[in-house]
């Protein structure tokens, strides 16, 4: 005869995920069903066995190879400190275009040479992105308001 409690439902019961009423019914059923008691014991044993499965450390050779490849990819993107020429190239604009933003560019000077740190440059780009979005939104609002008036 087919049992009223499925193996899957017993798994939910063993994990404490059945609602209270159904959990009581299953608990009650377990008293009279040896087969379900055996399944429930197997589910609890399974949890113990799953915990014992060992996670292995990846082979050292594979980790080393991955590190090497990633290092080339991640660090090969250019120098940490950039010249103005490199900044223009990074931004994909002519170097002349930098003259307009020179005052706000996060640069520093050393012995007469102007340099920019890559990390500061990325932050600066993000600030400009936010300002651009804000300005565009304000412009759209202004246009809508002009239309209303």
């Amino acid at each position: 005869m087919e049992c009223e409690v499925s193996y899957e439902e017993l798994s939910r019961f063993a994990s404490g995920e059945l609602d209270e009423e159904r959990a009581w019914q299953v608990q009650d059923h377990l008293r009279s069903c040896e087969r379900c008691r055996r399944h429930e014991a197997a589910l609890r044993a399974l949890d113990g066995r799953l915990r014992q499965l060992r996670r292995i450390e990846p082979p050292a050779g594979a980790v080393l190879e991955a590190r090497r490849t990633l290092s080339r990819q991640v660090r090969g993107g250019g120098p940490e400190v950039m010249t103005l020429g490199e900044v223009a190239e990074f931004l994909r604009v002519p170097q002349d275009a930098l003259a307009e933003v020179m005052e706000e560019l996060p640069a520093f000077e050393l012995g007469g040479y102007v340099r920019v740190r890559r990390a500061r440059l990325v932050e600066w780009i993000e600030q400009r992105e936010r300002a651009y979005v804000r300005a565009r939104a304000e412009s759209e609002v202004a246009q809508i308001l002009a239309g209303v008036n």
């Binding site: 499925s6 193996y7 899957e8 439902e9 017993l10 798994s11 939910r12 994990s15 995920e17 055996r38 399944h39 197997a42 589910l43 044993a45 399974l46 066995r49 799953l50 915990r51 014992q52 499965l53 060992r54 996670r55 292995i56 450390e57 990846p58 082979p59 594979a62 980790v63 190879e65 991955a66 590190r67 490849t69 990633l70 290092s71 990819q73 991640v74 660090r75 993107g77 940490e80 740190r117 890559r118 990390a119 990325v122 932050e123």
Partner: protein
């Protein structure tokens, strides 16, 4: 960098700090490798999945939304790499079969690397039962059992609702427990 959150490290990497990416690699290379090992059932490819996953993470760092779900995100990337790997293996096998150059069987048990073999027979049986689960159940069970991921994280990794994850996990657990019962009777 050990105390920094995954999101913070991703942000630092996006700002040009390559050491932050190394810290993420240190944190997640073992989980990614183990997940790949279980998904590929010991077939070759876990090494490639490890490397390709982190390369994909580096490439897609700009798209990552820092909402405290980095682990689910990187495991989703790893999962996609595993699926690509399995599809490529199937294509290769079919091509070999069609040209009469190779066997039709998938990678055999003996082809697994030695570290795959478990220390005791029960664990070995359990590995085999996990490998025999349908793909979705296997993914959900492995993420839960090996990585201790929450249902929400697994849902995010697999791109399915939480209730589906619960069903996958409990069906998987039922199949594993039934398999172990049978194994112990033999």
């Amino acid at each position: 960098m050990g105390a920094l959150s995954d999101d913070k490290l991703m942000r630092m990497y996006r700002e040009g700090d390559a050491d932050a990416f190394d810290a993420l690699f240190d944190r997640y290379h073992a989980p990614v490798y183990n997940f790949a090992r279980m998904m590929l059932d010991g077939a070759p490819g876990a090494d490639d999945v490890l490397q390709e996953t982190f390369l994909a993470v580096a490439r897609a760092a700009g798209d990552y939304e820092p909402r405290g779900r980095f682990r689910a995100w990187i495991m989703r990337v790893a999962r996609n790499q595993c699926l690509d790997c399995l599809r490529a293996a199937t294509r290769r096998r079919l091509a070999l079969v069609e040209t009469g150059l190779g066997p039709a069987e998938p990678v055999s048990r003996e082809a697994r690397p030695p570290e795959w073999l478990a220390a005791d027979e029960h664990a070995d049986a359990l590995y085999r039962l996990i490998a025999a689960l349908p793909e979705r159940q296997r993914e959900a069970v492995v993420l839960r059992a090996f990585e201790g991921m929450s249902y929400g994280e697994i849902a995010s990794t697999l791109g399915v609702p939480i209730n589906t994850v619960k069903t996958l996990i409990h069906r998987g657990r039922a199949a594993l427990a039934a398999g172990l019962e049978e194994y112990e009777r033999e």
